[in-house]
């Protein structure tokens, strides 16, 4: 054993041969164990300055809360440590490639965070006098202008809180327009490859959902669609580019057929990242389309929200947009807060996700018209690079070129004993977040890879090397590498069946 002049061993493993021991603390080096706050704190502890309030006569009608609430507090140092330790169990875009198809996990610029926290945006109340929020109305107007210009659509509703909420806004506008002409209709057509939110939204608005068949090339079967279109159909909901990562190349014929049947064309804009600056939905016959500002325009996903789902509308639908919206006046802007007869009404309290509007506009201003087009091109280039680089070892579901995401299925895993789920979990051991799996439902064992424009060629090449390596291991019969994966994550596979069978949804001390 080599020693330095203080007598300490200088090479790894030299001190002890046995590294498979439990620590006394429960920690494993930088993997720090951390219990729940309910196991750490006490209701007597606080990490804030409690204001000193003297005796006074209360005016709460004798309804004082005397029973214990039970929420423990932590002093500030421990609170910081608690949530810092938790954070280190998470994977985020900041850590590495996040190729989650359909979710557009692109870089979240910190400039956007800084802008949203300017007191003039972050510290203004939605109901303070309009004369004191001129800049906020201007920001909403400017964001509206960018969204309308990028889509070639005449109107936008900013207020929906997320993509699914935007879908609801869009379908409600369609139903409002149909009812205004005395013909609500009964059916909405969705392809089987649609996001689950599409049929859920349609049902919410009182429509029956019928499936549109797809062709072997992963696109809508136009002839079958025409057949299904009759005077009971209110709308067709299509994602374009679709969830197979393909552009619907017959989109204008589709739109014409929809309109000829007196129905409306709703476009799920989750995949707008592929075509922003390259093509405008307004040129393709779309009547309504929602954005996910948290996908296309880089507002953070935040571990599941907040999102923001503005919807653009065609002339045929724009009278039905919800309140509030900003209008230009002689001396600036006004915020219309009360619905007229045609408006569908109000979908949220106040004015929607202002904090997300600021971030999205910050992204748009940074990119400009030139950068937005370049971003779409780079996103599509990266996805096609994946398709071209993995096509020989994995099975691409459809011929390229693809748009901003590449769809593979599990045919290459046939007879290996490795499933799509196993393969995805093995990606965690490689240091990547898994791709979207088992979605869309139209191919078996789907693996949907969306690299986004945020990845460099170096990152792409490393990712491709890992994926090729894993495909080789699977085909080479190394099933163990997959069936127990992940091995290097802080947790092994979680038992979801147990969680659902006897749900434990909160901490209880008697456990």
């Amino acid at each position: 054993m080599s020693m330095n002049n203080q007598g300490r061993p200088t090479s790894a493993g030299a001190a002890t041969e046995n590294t498979d021991f439990e620590s006394f603390s429960g920690h494993k080096g930088l993997r720090l164990a951390e219990p729940l706050i309910f196991e750490l704190g006490s209701t007597e502890t606080t990490g804030v300055d409690v204001p000193e309030v003297g005796e006074f006569e209360m005016a709460i009608g004798g309804l004082e809360r005397t029973s214990e609430i039970g929420c423990p507090g932590l002093p500030e140092p421990d609170a910081v440590r608690h949530y810092t330790r938790l954070s280190r169990r998470n994977y985020g875009i900041d850590m590495g490639v996040f190729p989650l198809g359909s979710c557009t996990m692109k870089h979240n610029p910190r400039l956007n965070e800084k802008m949203a926290r300017l007191p003039g945006f972050g510290d203004i109340h939605p109901l303070q006098p309009k004369s004191t929020v001129k800049g906020a109305m201007q920001l909403m107007d400017e964001l509206s202008h960018w969204l309308c210009t990028l889509t070639g659509m005449p109107a936008v509703a900013l207020s929906p809180k997320a993509g699914a909420h935007g879908e609801l806004c869009g379908v409600m506008a369609i139903r409002s327009a149909l009812e205004a002409r005395g013909d609500a209709r009964e059916v909405i057509l969705c392809p089987e490859s649609a996001h689950g939110t599409n049929p859920a939204t349609a049902a919410f608005c009182g429509y029956k959902v019928k499936a549109i068949p797809a062709k072997d090339n992963g696109r809508v079967d136009l002839e079958a669609l025409k057949e299904a279109l009759d005077d009971t159909v209110a709308a067709v909901m299509l994602t374009n580019p679709n969830t197979c990562g393909l552009f619907e190349n017959e989109i204008r014929d589709i739109a014409d057929a929809i309109h000829a049947a007196g129905a409306f064309f709703y476009c799920d804009g989750a995949n707008f990242n592929a075509i922003m600056g390259k093509a405008r939905p307004g040129d393709l016959g779309v009547d309504a389309m929602h954005f996910n500002l948290h996908k296309t325009f880089s507002t953070p996903h935040g571990g599941g929200g907040p999102g923001s789902g503005p919807v653009v509308f065609s002339d045929a639908l724009k009278a039905h947009v919800p309140v509030p919206f900003v209008v230009k006046t002689d001396d600036g802007f006004d915020l219309v807060e009360d619905a007229d007869d045609k408006s569908m009404g109000r979908l949220v309290a106040y004015h929607g996700q202002m904090g997300m509007y600021v971030r999205a506009l910050s992204y748009m201003l940074s990119h400009g018209s030139d950068g937005i087009r370049q971003a779409a091109e780079d996103a599509v280039l990266n996805a096609n690079y994946v398709l071209a680089s993995l096509g020989d070892v994995m099975t691409a579901s459809f011929d390229g070129p693809c748009m901003h995401e590449a769809l593979f299925d599990d045919r290459f895993l046939k007879d290996t004993g490795v499933t799509t789920l196993d393969f995805a979990k093995a990606m965690i051991d490689e240091g990547y977040h898994p791709m979207t799996m088992y979605f869309p439902l139209v191919v078996h064992g789907a693996m949907l890879i969306e690299p986004t424009e945020s990845e460099s060629k170096y990152n792409m090449d490393q990712f491709i090397t890992s994926m090729r390596g894993l495909a080789g291991e699977a085909k080479g019969g190394n099933v163990d590498r997959f069936s127990g994966a992940p091995y290097h994550a802080p947790w092994g596979r979680l038992d979801e069946t147990q969680a659902a069978r006897k749900p434990v949804l909160r901490y209880s001390p008697e456990e």
Binding site: S42, G73, M95, K114, F121, G135, A200, S366, H367, N382
Partner: protein
């Protein structure tokens, strides 16, 4: 472009690998005549330019923290410790996705579990979900959940419910089977508002929705309402727009609520001109499977180590599609984290202390306004907000005070246009209001009234 890593050399090498000569060959499925349209928008800007441009826009707005500030009506200015914003900006939280891969998302899942527990404790309910978009959308989800639970359609919205919330319920349910009966607001007589809600309940009622403290600030004991609802096999939905009140006032659970929906903005989250905010949604154990939204539950991993996963997802749209309990997908994850970090800093002791300070500020404001001619305080009970009747049009008074650099509250006519409430002003005083602020408001009111 600073956010785009690919170089021209990279792009060429990648096109070569793909086997195309020009990027637009990858866009060949887009009809050629609409490809690459002229986009009449400015070109890219540097970070410095964007910062300058947006800062100028922000400077046209009056920040709440820069003036005497009494605006509430469902969104409140509270002090949020610096730690909260620091924690939510950690990239591991900020840039994570919904925790569908629990092996590498235990950070998010554990804080959701903590959040669900805190919300359940605060509201006095058995369980809470992982959050909704905001209080108003949560309210409409609760109404639809009550229809599923009771298999009845008629929902009664009490006059105490924030006008925006009532509108959201009406808008969202206009194409569902729900039938909405909306009662009139009555700021001068909250007991009559409560009685009207009690009287409206009948055998066809699925739920009654009551906000407490009400939009005009009054605090009421809802037990008689719960009793009448339960006699008729209807659910009591209690709406909270000021969750800070739970540190001082009996919880909705103690008063007999079946579902509690709330706006959680007050804890951990800034005003943000109305969003993003945080919908709280809590109910009793027996209704769990009818709840909308994500739920996090405890389990173990392959080694038997405790961990957490999203669970009961067979209620949700990505599994159930058109048969889901709701179409909600994204929620307010990061706002929930802010809530949880702030709640963990507060603890029960801090929450009770800050709640009491809120009430004290409002009591001080009420006492100060008693000496102002033309101001009549309408409330006998309140938490940190109450309504006054002015001798002049409230919107005009608020505008006149805004010109003097005082943001004096919300004119009731902004929420209830044409309802005959033009002289009513809703004023909030939180722990951020100082004695100087109150003096400034009193002096300003004396000038404009």
């Amino acid at each position: 472009m600073r956010y785009l890593p690919l170089t021209a050399t990279d792009r060429q090498a990648m096109l070569d690998k793909i086997g195309v000569r020009h990027i637009d060959e990858l866009f060949k499925d887009i009809p050629n005549d609409v490809l690459n349209p002229e986009i009449d928008l400015p070109r890219h800007k540097s970070e410095m330019e964007v910062e300058r441009y947006l800062s100028r826009m922000a400077a046209q707005n009056t920040a709440a923290g820069s003036v005497p500030f009494f605006v509430g009506a469902g969104a409140y200015k509270h002090h949020v410790p610096a730690t909260v914003d620091h924690m939510i900006q950690r990239g591991e939280f900020l840039t994570a996705y919904t925790p569908y891969q629990p092996e590498i998302a235990q950070g998010t899942l554990q804080y959701i579990f903590e959040f669900q527990t805190q919300v359940a404790q605060l509201t006095g309910m058995d369980v809470a979900n992982a959050s909704m978009y905001d209080g108003s959308t949560g309210c409409s989800e609760a109404v639809m959940m009550a229809r599923r639970v009771t298999r009845k359609k008629k929902a009664i919205l009490a006059g105490s419910l924030h006008a925006h919330y009532a509108s959201v319920v009406e808008t969202t349910t206009q194409f569902t089977d729900d039938v909405i009966e909306r009662l009139a607001p009555n700021p001068a007589n909250p007991e009559a508002e409560l009685q009207a809600a009690i009287d409206a309940i009948d055998a066809d009622t699925s739920c009654v929705v009551f906000q407490n403290p009400g939009v005009f600030g009054s605090v009421l004991d809802l037990r008689p309402l719960a009793e009448k609802a339960h006699e008729n096999k209807a659910l009591l939905i209690v709406v909270l727009t000021e969750v800070m009140s739970l540190g001082l006032i009996e919880s909705p659970g103690e008063m007999g609520a079946d579902i509690v929906v709330g706006e959680g903005q007050s804890i951990g989250n800034g005003l943000n001109f109305g969003g993003p905010y945080l919908g709280l949604f809590a109910t009793n154990q027996k209704f769990v499977r009818q709840m909308p939204g994500r739920l996090c539950g405890e389990t173990v991993d392959a080694d038997g180590k405790r961990g957490f996963v999203l669970t009961l997802s067979t209620r949700e749209q990505h599994i159930r599609r058109e048969k889901a309990t709701s179409n909600i997908c994204t929620n307010s994850g990061l706002c929930a984290l802010a809530f949880t970090v702030h709640m963990t800093l507060l603890g029960e002791k801090g929450l009770r202390g800050v709640s009491l300070a809120n009430h004290k500020a409002a009591v001080d404001l009420r006492d100060a306004l008693k000496g102002v001619d033309g101001v009549e305080v309408l409330n006998t009970t309140f938490f940190n907000e109450f309504s006054v009747k002015l001798s002049k049009d409230a919107a005009g008074v608020v505008d006149a005070l805004a010109d003097k650099g005082i943001l004096a509250g919300v004119p009731a006519s902004r929420l209830y246009p044409g309802a005959g409430l033009d002289d009513v002003l809703i004023l909030a005083a939180t722990e951020t209001v100082s004695a100087d602020d109150i003096d400034a408001l009193v002096a300003g009111l004396k000038e404009v009234l």
